[in-house]
């Protein structure tokens, strides 16, 4: 019997619909895989005890002749930033250890209604602040390509889960690259939708004007299928868009089938073109551009001068909004409560709770954000950062006059070693340099594999960006490139990942791809 965990969600969907396999079998296979490798990978913070029952219920429905959606019966991992009524939702923080919300996030409700099978909650940097998942209060997640390396962040758990074949699908969230950057360093696919394209209701907020929930998968088609389920207007989220979205799965299939980029203007953002990035990232990027050109794409260089200031603006806007969003963690209604030995007023309890419940990175950003909003500092910091946002949007608008999609590497380096950047917060922040602009402008972005870096055999990823509301372009172009690359390699990138069940801990050999 085929190893079910090696199949894409689309392939599983076909088998399920054809009756070749049951959801219980598929779910059990993944639970077994989790049991086998997650001790090493640590992608999951919680494995669902209800998964098999849920799978059984879907099988029953199918047997009863009910018409089910394409992903019905397919298992999915859920980033712990999303509220789930039947599983703890910790956001990777000690502050919410064991907290089970009394409500489901809208995207979780949609998953359940579409009959997907939640497998469990995945690890993340605490409150989504980080690029390596090392800031999780529950210990880091390890990159399935090399267990001594980071899987990216903040959604390292979801990316590692799909890259380690523990789940065919996962949900992530992306505030400055938390879906796209882990995709790059784990050889998987991740999409940040247009801001407002997917509901934020029930996603524990980091930066309200930047956060989006999106799919984390191994293939572009799988991401499209999942995006079709979770997207759409939510009356509970005032910032969600009322647009009718086209089928992303259809677009992905068309792109993959055509393998053509004829008539597509691909804009290379000068400020994000890889100068100063790791050599292997740079070279794989250049090769990808050549491949696209050979498939008919017109490669154009565009300039976005304000992107130089994107990180600066981001690290003012995010902490400011986060400092306010995280004020609710105060020991009163939910979560941790730490009472000082000498007792104390509620103010003392709040301060002691937050000191114990928040990790260093969170404290750093909350204090920074408090400063950026303080009387006398607002204009110079938060106020100015919001102006840079305007400039970045203008640059995107100008760029999209000349190009249909924009490209850049999705991360400046391959996966670095655990602990390597922990002492230098600023250095850590630079991991998001190519992904942040899309969050500031609200435009959609996709990260997908573009090859292994020759020098270390680790995955590198390419990022596509499209104008706001044009997520469909990402799927069409992304799936075409994915098909072209896989043709060129003769296999998928993820198939080159080391076999964890054999206890291998080393990256693929040099020159493998």
């Amino acid at each position: 019997m085929t190893d079910l965990t090696r199949l894409s969600a689309a392939a599983l969907s076909e088998k399920l619909q054809a009756g070749e396999v049951s959801s219980v079998e598929v779910t059990r296979a993944h639970l077994d895989r989790i049991a086998a490798v997650d001790g090493d990978v640590h992608a999951f913070l919680h494995v669902s005890s209800a998964a098999l029952d849920t799978a059984q219920a879907v099988d029953d429905k199918r047997a009863a002749g009910e018409k089910l959606g394409p992903l019905a019966g397919v298992p999915i991992a859920i980033k712990d930033v999303l509220c789930t009524m039947d599983m703890p939702s910790t956001a990777g923080s000690r502050m919410l250890e064991g907290w089970v919300p009394p409500y489901d996030a809208t995207v979780v409700r949609k998953l359940r209604e579409a009959d997907l099978v939640p497998l469990g909650k995945t690890n993340m940097d605490e409150f989504a602040m980080g690029s390596s998942t090392e800031h999780s209060a529950y210990g880091p997640t390890r990159n399935p390509w090399d267990l001594e390396r980071i899987p990216g962040g903040s959604g390292g758990g979801s990316a590692a889960a799909v890259a380690a074949f523990e789940a065919p699908l996962a949900l992530g969230s992306d505030t400055g690259g938390s879906i796209r950057q882990p995709a790059a360093v784990t050889g998987s696919v991740g999409v940040k939708p247009t801001y407002g394209g997917v509901s934020r209701y029930g996603a524990i907020a980091l930066a309200s004007s930047l956060d989006q929930v999106g799919p984390v998968t191994r293939t572009v088609l799988d991401a499209a299928l999942l995006h079709d389920v979770i997207g759409g207007h939510d009356p509970r989220d005032s910032t969600s868009l009322r647009d009718e979205w086209p089928s992303f799965a259809t677009a992905a299939r068309e792109g993959a089938a055509s393998k053509s980029l004829a008539g597509v203007r691909v804009g290379v953002v000068k400020e994000l073109n890889g100068d100063g990035f790791q050599a292997g990232v740079h070279s794989r990027f250049a090769e990808s551009l050549e491949l696209m050109a050979s498939a008919g794409a017109e490669i154009v260089e565009v300039s976005a001068p304000s992107f130089e200031y994107a990180i600066n603006a981001y690290y003012l806007i995010l902490p400011a909004e986060a400092s306010s969003n995280l004020a609710k963690f105060d020991s009163v209604r939910f979560g941790l409560r730490v009472t000082p030995e000498s007792g104390g007023t509620v103010e003392d309890v709040m301060a002691a709770t937050r000191a114990a419940g928040f990790g260093d990175e969170v404290k750093r950003r909350v204090i920074l954000g408090t400063y950026a909003l303080s009387a006398g500092y607002y204009d110079a910091y938060y106020g100015s950062a919001q102006k840079v946002r305007t400039l970045i949007q203008r640059d995107f608008a100008a760029a999209f006059e000349q190009a249909d999609v924009l490209v850049s590497p999705a991360a400046p380096t391959t996966a670095f070693k655990l602990g390597e950047k922990l002492d230098d917060p600023l250095a850590m922040y630079l991991n998001d340099i190519t992904t942040i602009p899309a969050n500031l402008a609200g435009v959609p972005g996709m990260g997908l594999p573009m090859g292994l870096a020759p020098e270390d055999g680790l995955p590198t990823g390419i990022q596509f960006m499209a104008p706001a509301r044009e997520d469909v372009r990402l799927y069409r172009v992304g799936s075409a490139l994915e098909a072209l690359l896989e043709d060129k390699w003769g296999h998928t990138l993820i198939s080159r990942a080391p076999d964890l069940s054999l206890g291998e801990e080393f990256a693929a050999m040099e020159g493998a791809v």
């Binding site: 247009t194 868009l241 990180i311 509620v346 937050r354 404290k363 750093r364 919001q386 102006k387 305007t390």
Partner: protein, 104 residues
């Protein structure tokens, strides 16, 4: 627009911010944080290089307005659900230690 801020962040300021943010930092943490934040602030203050007066601020990436809902009651939480995560309660209300400050 003037060049980036070269204000030095002092430990007193950080202590005050920690108090505003209700986080009980140890003196060591305050010292360490003052150094780290100073570096970050210098770096991010670069925004002032381009944020001139004629550039409007953007709060929302996608411009929308007048997003409302009808004045119709929906589902509420039961008291049990509301208290389900509470560290301390009396079955009907949340319980907290004595309060120092006054209502705003």
């Amino acid at each position: 627009m003037s060049s980036s801020s070269t204000e030095q962040l002092t430990t007193d300021q950080v202590a005050h911010l920690a108090s505003l943010a209700r986080i009980a930092l140890t003196p060591d943490e305050i010292t360490k944080l003052t150094g780290e934040l100073g570096v970050i602030i210098d770096s991010v203050a670069r925004v002032n290089e381009v944020a001139s007066a004629d550039v409007p601020a953007t709060s929302h990436p996608i411009p929308l307005s007048n997003v409302f809902r009808a004045d119709v009651p929906g589902e509420t939480l039961t008291t049990e659900q509301a208290l389900s995560g509470a560290p301390d309660h009396d079955g009907s209300r949340f319980r907290v230690s004595a309060i120092l400050g006054e209502e705003q």
